[in-house]
Every structure is written in structure tokens, then in C-alpha cells.
């Protein structure tokens, strides 16, 4: 996910003036909620989720950008923390002292891209960008897919993460045409294609059932390599679009797989995939908007997975990104891939 540049809808709550209360995004409260996240050290949950810290910062920061308050977390503090998670091999852990892993390396690269921090990386580590790129590239497996870390778990999530981060770093083979390629792109895309099912969706590995999260990562991967349109074709887009559109349930919310409960985070995985294949008009946007807004905590800020549940930063960013993709007023525009 990245923020679309250029004019369009600006941040701030001003644009929502005409909306009834239940349709308003409580911008200031979300900002305050995100700012409060790092001060909750008297809660056990804060300590039990340290293994997610750097991703948490990425989600918080993205949410703040969507809300039009990109500076609400201090840039220096974010960068200091981020570099305290960097290992000599170019990988990032989730927090200081945590082992490097693809997921946190990608979150870190995304943060650096968002706060324009690649120069700082070069300052802190000689050839830092190249080192990070090499850490990621080193996780590619002979069959084209990527492992999460040295222990070898593979998943199409990691494959998308790798392509996404390398593209932000400018180290995709297509971006470095005069250099020997760091990764085998054809092998990676062949693997993605092998994860597709007859219903048009994609799974976590060949043979696994279709899942919206995996649809997002596989479409995202093919979109980065520029093959999504030609690979799917109109028939393929219809098939996948049909599967994705069935994710909407009468409540307006979206689920991740058939016969599962709706959840705000799927608003993003499903909708951005539909946007990538030009089928976003196949669901009821007004109903989805209303559902996402029902998951908002209007008192304390933040979004939950479902109406009435506890909020968290993960569902907050995906709720906001969903609303942004739906063109809700008051939010900065987001790029689906």
C-alpha cells in the first residue's frame, strides 16, 4: 500500500462537513489513539506484542498519512527505533534484539520510503540499501518463492513482500538493468501462477485453497512485475472478480474466504485486489462504507475487526485504507498495489 501523490482529496476532517455524524471519520481521535500506542507500557498486551512493534509503527504511520497528519509521530524517533532493529546482514527484526525477518524488513523499508529516509539508511550503514536488498534477495528459494527468514518457512506473502520492498529500494532487476539480477523474477511469477485455483483465487502455496489475503499478495506481485493484466485476461479477471465479490455479506462487510465471518481488515485485501483488476464496482460500496464506519470507536478512536469489538492499530489502518479506496471524504488517496 502506498499513498497516491498529486491533488485529489486532502487530509483533515474539513471535507466531511456535510456528512451525518455516523458517517464521519473521527480524524482527531484516531490521531490521538495512534499517538497513545507507544505509551501503553502499563498494559500487558503492549509487552506481549513486542514481536510486531516495527509493523505496528508502519501501520500507525500509514494511518496518520491517510488521516492527513503525517507528522504526528516524530520522524527522528521513528528512525532511531527503526535503525535499532537493523542487523549487520541487512535484515530488520520486529524490535531491538529480535531476529531479522522478511516481514519486519519490509515494514522497515516501507517506513523508510514513507518518511523519505533512505539517505539516513546509507548514513547509518555503508551501502545500506544494497545490503537490505541482498538480505531480501537471499531468501529466495530455488523454486522461486521466498522464505520468511533463515528457518525457511515459505508463503506467497513473503514473495509479495520481497518484490514490494525491492521495488521501493530500486533493486528489482528491471530497475537495475545494467547489473546482474538480484532475484529470479520469472521463477517468482511462475510460482505465483502455480498458486492459482480454478475459482480464480490464489492460495498460500500450490494446492492451497483460495484466500483473499493471498489473492492480494499474488495480484500485488504480478502487478509489480507488470504481468497482472496479460496473465489474467478479461476471463481471468471475471473469474477472480466474481470470487472476490462473493466476499461481501449482507452486513456490508467482507470476509476472507467463503463461509467465514466479515472483518474490517479484509476490506483492504479484497477491495485493493478488485481495484487492481478493475472490478471494484462489483460490490456495494455504500454498504461497505457503512460497515467500516460501524467498526470505528467514536469515543476513543481506532477501528476494530467488527462493530463493538476492541480496536487495534492493525484494523485501524486497514479500515482507513478501505475508506480511502472507497473515496470517503476527508482521507488521503491510497494506491491499491
Amino acid at each position: 500500500m502506498s499513498l497516491a501523490a498529486g491533488p485529489g482529496r486532502g487530509g483533515g476532517g474539513g471535507a466531511q462537513g456535510q456528512l451525518p455524524d455516523e458517517m464521519k471519520v473521527v480524524v482527531e481521535k484516531h490521531v490521538a489513539y495512534i499517538q497513545s500506542l507507544d505509551t501503553r507500557r502499563e498494559e500487558l498486551e503492549y509487552h506481549l506484542t513486542e514481536h510486531l512493534r516495527i509493523s505496528g509503527i508502519y501501520w500507525g504511520l500509514t494511518a496518520l498519512h491517510l488521516l492527513g497528519h503525517p507528522d504526528a509521530l516524530p520522524r527522528d524517533g521513528v528512525l532511531d527505533f527503526l535503525f535499532s532493529c537493523l542487523h549487520a546482514d541487512g535484515g530488520f527484526g520486529a524490535a531491538p534484539g529480535h531476529d531479522p525477518h522478511m516481514l519486519y524488513t519490509v515494514s522497515s523499508v516501507q517506513i523508510l520510503a514513507m518518511v523519505d529516509g533512505f539517505d539516513e539508511l546509507e548514513k547509518r550503514m555503508k551501502d545500506g540499501k544494497l545490503k537490505v536488498a541482498k538480505y531480501i534477495a537471499g531468501l529466495q528459494q530455488p523454486n522461486g518463492t521466498f522464505a520468511g527468514d533463515e528457518w525457511g518457512e515459505t508463503d506467497t506473502r513473503f514473495l509479495y513482500c520481497a518484490l514490494n520492498a525491492l521495488s521501493l529500494l530500486g533493486f528489482l532487476p528491471s530497475q537495475q538493468a545494467d547489473q546482474p539480477p538480484l532475484i529470479d523474477v520469472p521463477a517468482a511469477t511462475a510460482y505465483v501462477k502455480a498458486c492459482q485455483n480454478f475459482d480464480g483465487g490464489f492460495g498460500t502455496e500450490p494446492g492451497a485453497e483460495s484466500h483473499s489475503g493471498q489473492v492480494f499478495t499474488c495480484c500485488g506481485a504480478l502487478s509489480i512485475t507488470g504481468e497482472l493484466d496479460s496473465y489474467l485476461g478479461e476471463e481471468g479477471k471475471d473469474r477472480l472478480g466474481a470470487w472476490l465479490s462473493e466476499r461481501q455479506l449482507p452486513s456490508g462487510g467482507l470476509n476472507g474466504r467463503p463461509e467465514k465471518l466479515v472483518d474490517v481488515c479484509y476490506s483492504w485485501w479484497v477491495m485493493s485486489s478488485m481495484a487492481m483488476i478493475g472490478r471494484l464496482h462489483w460490490i456495494d460500496k455504500a454498504k461497505l462504507t457503512a460497515f467500516i464506519l460501524q467498526c470505528q470507536d467514536p469515543e476513543e478512536g481506532g477501528f476494530a475487526d467488527r462493530p463493538g469489538d476492541m480496536v487495534d492499530v492493525f484494523h485501524t489502518v486497514f479500515g482507513l485504507a478501505g475508506l480511502s479506496l472507497l473515496g470517503h471524504p476527508g482521507l488521503v488517496e491510497v494506491d491499491p498495489a
Binding site: 500487558l44 509487552h47 518457512e153 492451497a208 484466500h211 472483518d263 481488515c265 475487526d305 469489538d309 476492541m310
Partner: protein, 380 residues
């Protein structure tokens, strides 16, 4: 159970919101939470200190067990646990066959050297440790990963008869996990891995057995989406292995259609059943490269035959289920296929297509945009 796809999307589900949040916590609750935090941090600091000083002792191992039981998402601690085990295994392997005659004898009985026996006992102990954790956190990626690492390591370090036995045990475990939650995709992924390993080590196929497993699963609960999916994945291998000829393939397809149509008559609102019906239809569609053909070869005449047969069956399902959107979707899909194959076919008339589509627009209004696009595509 809900679907929890990413590492984070699990602790956060379904917890009711309390208004006022933390501000409302009683003093007593606050003190209790502080104590829990202190205890957790002490344990964490202890583990990290031990690992830093390369103290790969049994006490350290037990301390990681304690910490991981409290927080199985702490992936770095799983990594430390594996480093510790690697160290212990390496020492075992370097160890001279020791003098303890009883140990050596016990190992020999199992066809192992005594270091191998020691390693196999440690692996088994760790597999055992994971079972209650898996029960409590069935969607935690790291627990499944650790299990898979243990098995992989055993396969590398132990003779194949011992490793095979361990993998066989996993089949039992994963069946149990899937009977508790038949949609757990970690479980299904693990099952594929286990089956692949057993097949590799025994150089014999498990396709027939696994196919029977899916039959059993769907017989006990027709609405078993993941089992239908697994079944669809096994079919091409099953037919290849049976060296099924033209007739055998046709009989097979007829049998599957009969099974699913019967189920659909009972419950046309069940998505899992439509999923499998859709799968069978797509094996007849040469443009769907993700659905290998069941009939081989498959002539246009055979395609038409099945499309017409299913049109008739699905039409009958409408009786008493006029508000079931899946029926209209299937009818439209079948008609489209049939018309593509044979433009002049009279099995469906244009008026029917229009009627089905207007039903969908009415009862499936969430997807109006999709049905409008279909209307244009069908040139109605």
C-alpha cells in the same frame, strides 16, 4: 472460528469493546497487571541473558518453554530454542558411543545408535510440548513452523524408519486438528507437507488414501469446504494413478456429479456444495487452465451433454428455493458455456436468461454492478 491471516490478526479478534478503555480499570486490576508484566519481563530477561552467554542447558530450554507458553508469537524465542536444540544435537552426534550398556542396548532395540536415540527422544519431547500449545493457538504460524522444523531435522539426523514413524504420527495429529476446525489452513498446509514426506520416504503414493479421507470428511459433514477443495486437488493425480481410460473417467465424473447434485437437492443454500459443483463444471471448460480436465479426451458433444444435464438438474432445484442466488448464478454460468459451444442451442432461451438475471439483480443487490456487466456481456 474466524479467519486469521496474518501474524497480528489473531489476538485482536472478537474482544468486546469496554467503554472508557484502560481508564476504568480498578486499582486491583491495575496492580495485578503490573505484577504480570514484571513476571513476564523477568522471564524474558532471564532467557535472553542465558542465550547471550550461550548457556544451552536444560534450564535454558525449560525457560524458553515457559516464555513461549505465555507468548507463542515471540518468534525470536522459537529461533533461540532451535539454536539450542541444534547445539545439543551436534554434541550428541560428536559423542562417542558411551559406556552405559543399558542405553546402548535400548538404542539397539530400536535400530539406533545411542546418540540417535537421544536425539529422537528430544524431538519427541518437543513435539509433545507443542500439542497443548497448538490446541490453544491453532492459528499461530510459529508453532506450526517449529513442528515442521523438528520433523525436518529428525529426517536429516535419524534413520528413515524412525523418521517415517514420526511423520506417520503427524498424520494422526493433523487429522485431529482438522476435525476440531476443518477450515484451519495451517492444518491443511501441514497435512500436504506430511503426506508429501511420507510419500517421499516410502516411495509409494497416498493419493487413494487421501481421497478416501476427503470422502469420509464430506460424508460426516457435507458443508466441509476445505475437504471439497482438497478432493478437487487430488482428482487429477488419482485418475493418472489409476491409469483411468475414457470410460473410467466418464464413470468417475458421473459419480461425482451424482454425489454433489444429491447433496445440492438437500441444501441448495450451501456454498461448499456449489464450490464443488463449480469445480466439476470448470473441468469441462478448456479455457480454465487451473482446472485440469477429468474427461480426457473431452469432445464438444460430451461438454454439451453435461451442460444440458446440469441445466436440467439445477433448474429443478429452483422448486422451493426461488430465493437462492446460487441457483441463478449456476444457471447463467451453464447457459453461457453452452451458448459459447453451440450458439443455436435451444436448451435455454433468451427469455429465461433475462428472467434469471433480473432475479439476481433483485435478490443479490450487493453485486448489482457485476450483474449489469453480465447483462452487457450476454447482450440481453
Amino acid at each position: 472460528m474466524q479467519d486469521q491471516w496474518s501474524e497480528v490478526d489473531k489476538n485482536q479478534h472478537g474482544i468486546p469493546r469496554v467503554s472508557g478503555g484502560t481508564a476504568d480499570k480498578s486499582e486491583q486490576a491495575r496492580v495485578k497487571e503490573q505484577k504480570q508484566i514484571e513476571q513476564y519481563q523477568r522471564l524474558e530477561a532471564d532467557v535472553i541473558l542465558r542465550i547471550k552467554s550461550k548457556d544451552y542447558s536444560n534450564d535454558t530450554f525449560q525457560a524458553t518453554s515457559q516464555l513461549l507458553s505465555q507468548n507463542p508469537e515471540y518468534y525470536t524465542i522459537w529461533n533461540h530454542r532451535r539454536r539450542l536444540l541444534q547445539d545439543v544435537f551436534a554434541k550428541e552426534r560428536d559423542r562417542k558411543e558411551d559406556a552405559d550398556a543399558a542405553d546402548t542396548e535400548a538404542a539397539e532395540r530400536e535400530g539406533l545408535t545411542s546418540p540417535q536415540r537421544e536425539i529422537s527422544l528430544l524431538v519427541k519431547e518437543d513435539l509433545h510440548f507443542l500439542v497443548p500449545l497448538l490446541r490453544q493457538y491453532p492459528k499461530c504460524y510459529w508453532i506450526w513452523n517449529h513442528r515442521s522444523w523438528l520433523l525436518g531435522t529428525a529426517t536429516r539426523l535419524l534413520p528413515s524408519h524412525t523418521a517415517t514413524e514420526l511423520w506417520q504420527g503427524e498424520l494422526g495429529l493433523v487429522s485431529k486438528m482438522l476435525s476440531l476446525d476443518s477450515r484451519n489452513f495451517h492444518g491443511w498446509g501441514y497435512r500436504r507437507e506430511v503426506v508429501k514426506e511420507i510419500e517421499r520416504m516410502s516411495t509409494s503414493s497416498m493419493v487413494e488414501k487421501e481421497f478416501s479421507y476427503t470422502t469420509k470428511m464430506v460424508q460426516s459433514n457435507l458443508s466441509n469446504f476445505s475437504a471439497w477443495h482438497y478432493r478437487s486437488q487430488l482428482i487429477p493425480h488419482l485418475l493418472a494413478e489409476r491409469q483411468a481410460d475414457c470410460d473410467a473417467r466418464k464413470n468417475f465424473l458421473d459419480g461425482e456429479f451424482e454425489l454433489i447434485t444429491k447433496a445440492l437437492y438437500t441444501d441448495p443454500y450451501d456454498q461448499s456444495l456449489w464450490f464443488y459443483h463449480h469445480y466439476l463444471m470448470s473441468t469441462l471448460d478448456p479455457t480454465n487452465s487451473q482446472a485440469p480436465a477429468i474427461l480426457d479426451p473431452c469432445t464438444d458433444a460430451e461438454r454439451s451433454y453435461y451442460y444440458e444435464q446440469e441445466l436440467e438438474n439445477v433448474r429443478d432445484m429452483l422448486d422451493g428455493a426461488e430465493d437462492c442466488k446460487y441457483i441463478y448464478q449456476s444457471l447463467l454460468e451453464l447457459s453461457q458455456q453452452l451458448r459459447q459451444l453451440d450458439a443455436g442451442n435451444q436448451a435455454v432461451i433468451k427469455g429465461e436468461l433475462t428472467a434469471w438475471l433480473s432475479q439476481l439483480l433483485k435478490i443479490d443487490s450487493l453485486r448489482q454492478g457485476r450483474w449489469r456487466d453480465l447483462e452487457l456481456k450476454l447482450k440481453l
